[in-house]
Point group: C2
Chain length 378, copies 2
């Protein structure tokens, strides 16, 4: 008979090797950072318990060795990490996404948070649900502090923390074209590998131009609809790598990135991100035989993105701050009339890591007795 190298706690099985690796004692975890120090590859063989006891809310194990090693685990913490008959994934703290087309968004009725009177952080909650949020009445001198309260600002190219979106002559990007071109809904930085999970901030400094309304589209919603209505298009867009490029003559960069437009997560069961920018699209990496079907799929996506059914349109006014997940929400604009008035947005980027990291931290006390006990210890 095969030896059973696990113990069953309240109906959930935990392997000895897993338990030994998860020991929480100050010898196995560095005391002030709580990081793992114990190195399981140094053990001569699979760890073996001399005794296993449930004492109150704790599991106590004495491991064979010279000297023996003592481990204590809060049982509620163990159960939160159980992997028996389920893949361990304690992301219960994740906010449920609300996917939207225009009608569904109107039903949800997004609120514009007031930067001065609203300290409830509704905007943070809405950002997680809708993929974007709107704040108004933010004085320009408070913009940087507002963003830094979440985390550091991502510096892009040579802009420093902030860049400007405004019409300029000899623009190196269509978004700054003096002609006031319309922009199809797109994600920014499609040509950079290190910007896959960024939040983007648009702060309106001035908007006197005729036209130039902002457009937002929920890329996750369109992907889900494509999956139902055009499964073969969804398959092509999620399986075909394409290349996005950006040439910056003045700063001497030629950026190129390969990615599927609809990028699935590790287990291929959820969408990780949408990456799409027609102005930066170069070519798909497919064989001759598949080229025409790819272009069919690409055109279908463009038609969805341009459909009023999905587009939320509004005009940003001075003091307005639009915040959106650049890996879910595609943004665009209507054309504006060149020289009809000044239009200037301040743009900043920030990793979604800092939003989710802060959110996880706040939820910590509800989730992990071990880490939260550690947090409370001083």
């Amino acid at each position: 008979m095969t030896e059973q190298r696990f113990v069953t706690i309240r109906g959930k099985r935990f392997h000895w090797i897993w338990l030994r690796d998860h020991c929480l004692c100050p010898q196995c975890r560095h005391s002030s950072s709580f990081q793992k120090v114990y190195d399981l590859s140094e053990a001569p063989s699979t760890p073996e318990p001399l005794s296993i006891k449930e004492v109150g809310d704790e599991l106590q194990i004495i491991w064979a060795g010279d000297p023996p090693h003592y481990s204590t685990y809060p049982i509620s913490w163990l159960l939160s990490l159980a992997y028996d008959n389920e893949t361990s994934d304690d992301d219960k703290s994740e906010t449920k996404k609300y996917l939207w087309n225009l009608a569904e968004l109107e039903q949800y009725a997004p609120i514009w948070s007031d930067a001065i009177t609203d300290i409830s952080e509704n905007w943070f909650h809405q950002l997680r649900e809708l993929g974007f949020s709107l704040v108004q009445n933010l004085p320009s001198q408070e913009l940087e502090a507002f963003i830094l309260s979440i985390g550091p600002i991502y510096h892009k190219f040579r802009y420093g923390p902030f860049s400007k979106s405004q019409a300029i002559p000899n623009a190196q990007d269509l978004s700054q074209s003096a002609e006031g071109y319309a922009l199809l809904p797109h994600t920014d930085s499609s040509f950079l590998y290190d910007s896959q999970r960024m939040v983007e901030y648009f702060y309106c400094v001035e908007n006197q131009a005729r036209g130039g309304e902002s457009i937002l589209v929920d890329g996750f919603k369109i992907a889900k609809d494509l999956q139902e209505e055009n499964p073969e298009v969804y398959q092509i867009l999620s399986e075909t790598p394409v290349e996005f490029r950006h040439l910056h003559r003045n700063w001497e960069y030629y950026f190129r990135r390969k990615t599927p437009i609809i990028k699935l997560d590790i287990n291929n069961d959820d969408i990780f991100g949408i990456y799409f920018s027609h102005k930066n699209f170069n070519h798909p990496l497919v064989s001759f035989e598949k080229m025409e079907s790819f272009y069919d799929a690409y055109s279908t996506l463009l038609r969805y993105l341009k459909s009023p059914k999905y587009q939320y349109c509004f005009k940003l006014m001075p003091g307005d701050l639009l915040v959106f997940q650049n890996f879910r929400i595609l943004h665009g604009r209507n054309a504006f009339v060149a020289n009809s008035g000044h239009r200037e947005l301040t743009v900043a980027y920030q990793s979604w890591d800092y939003f989710s990291g802060r959110h996880n931290f706040r939820n910590l006390k509800n989730l992990y007795s071990a880490e939260s006990m550690f947090l409370k210890k001083d």
Copy 2:
């Protein structure tokens, strides 16, 4: 008979739809940014040529429409993008990687570039081949300019552009532990989604402590060796998502990221990156039945990483700058004796995007007559 919607140029077939989408004229591409403006989804049907002619080194097409549209393509440029009987992938400019264990590294004999006398950018070339490079005699006041000459510095947490690696009390990371712990070879930021392709800089300010030698290991080499010597371990490590975590009490973050340790590229035929940090490792996302094999694979990886066969060890001295790809090279250190002398490194991060973007730019004139003609036009 099915209509043939392509044309054959010097033995390579190009679809009409592909050619129409790749039109280079100022109506289809924005003049100063060279970005695509033409929207193929607006066409009523598949574009149809009225005439196709080779004239000298150019292909000239007149497209049906009212009015007709004229496209001209340099043939050498078309051929560089050919996708007939091959997947279009003109990355011929990519430097071939030299994977190394210690013996192979000694054979390669990496050079230490001198920051003052060596202006050849050998360090840049070596970084692409070996995954790391070494520069010496860099005055500390020139560090920032050196890094900014490539691109912007990534701001992490609240450090600003630079953080310090030194022993401090109550450290929030093992690397700063007052005890001078050894560090197993690891990649930094394993718990962040937006730092998958970063270059890391270690600038040595002072190194008086006994011990604390730097260790570098080529993760791509180990992955290749695992694939040959332990294919089942390679398979587990490249297919199993694991979760890395980092708790920052003072700044109120709890970062969590899911990724395979060996991450393959889109086509699963090459390694995209290695992500591994034992101190931040939390758990694999596998079923009960696969848990023990995962831990076996994990231990095997640790044994490879710790083997002297793979480790390049050296001691950084003041003025030395170590630059490495944090997605290929794992770095670690020997323990150092606490209070035996001051040890201080200045640490900075930068996206690999800026290295490859600059490299692509320099190669542009050899590769794409269309873009390079565009570059030369003013």
